[in-house]
Symmetry: C2
């Protein structure tokens, strides 16, 4: 299993609508990807490792798929529509990483 | 529920022993934290968002707890022992983030 992590840097002054991300954007991603998205998780940054420090990422999602190929096959055809929704909740550019799930 | 993400930057030339991390270090963390660690996951970086690009993080773990307080109460007393094990698998300094789990 692989996960695609989409991580939005916690830049000062940036806009990020957590409610829209949770209630509208991520359900859109799941609806378009269908069963190829085995599950997804959403995080809201609270802090860093040191007490009182800021989180590195204001928000993150992790999309779980059987393989990189199944992610690409299910996300690719809808990428344009999904990307077009991003300005509705943020002006940030996310860091994207694909990982192998070693311990699920 | 909160998650503590420990993310090791994919620095060129750095050392990271994925097998030790999976088989020895993370079980040590779980053993010391006990039930306060509801679960943990481990990731191995495969790539970035662009085809052929490198992952931002070579490895990550995410430790799930009921609250920041339960993490601190269970990890804190063993932090010294757990930190002392880090050189056994890496010479990297991780990025640490605490997040609220919005969608589990």
């Amino acid at each position: 299993m692989i996960k695609v992590s989409v991580m939005y840097p916690n830049n000062p002054g940036a806009r990020f609508d957590h409610a829209y991300y949770r209630d509208t954007h991520m359900p859109l991603v799941k609806a378009r990807m269908g069963d190829a998205c085995l599950k997804y998780t959403v995080d809201k940054g609270l802090g860093g490792g040191a007490p009182g420090s800021a989180p590195t990422y204001v928000g993150m999602c992790h999309i779980f798929c059987d393989s990189v190929e199944s992610f690409q096959a299910s996300f690719g055809p809808h990428a344009q529509e999904i990307m077009a929704d991003i300005p509705n909740y943020t002006d940030l550019t996310p860091v994207i990483q694909i990982s192998e799930v070693v311990v699920a």
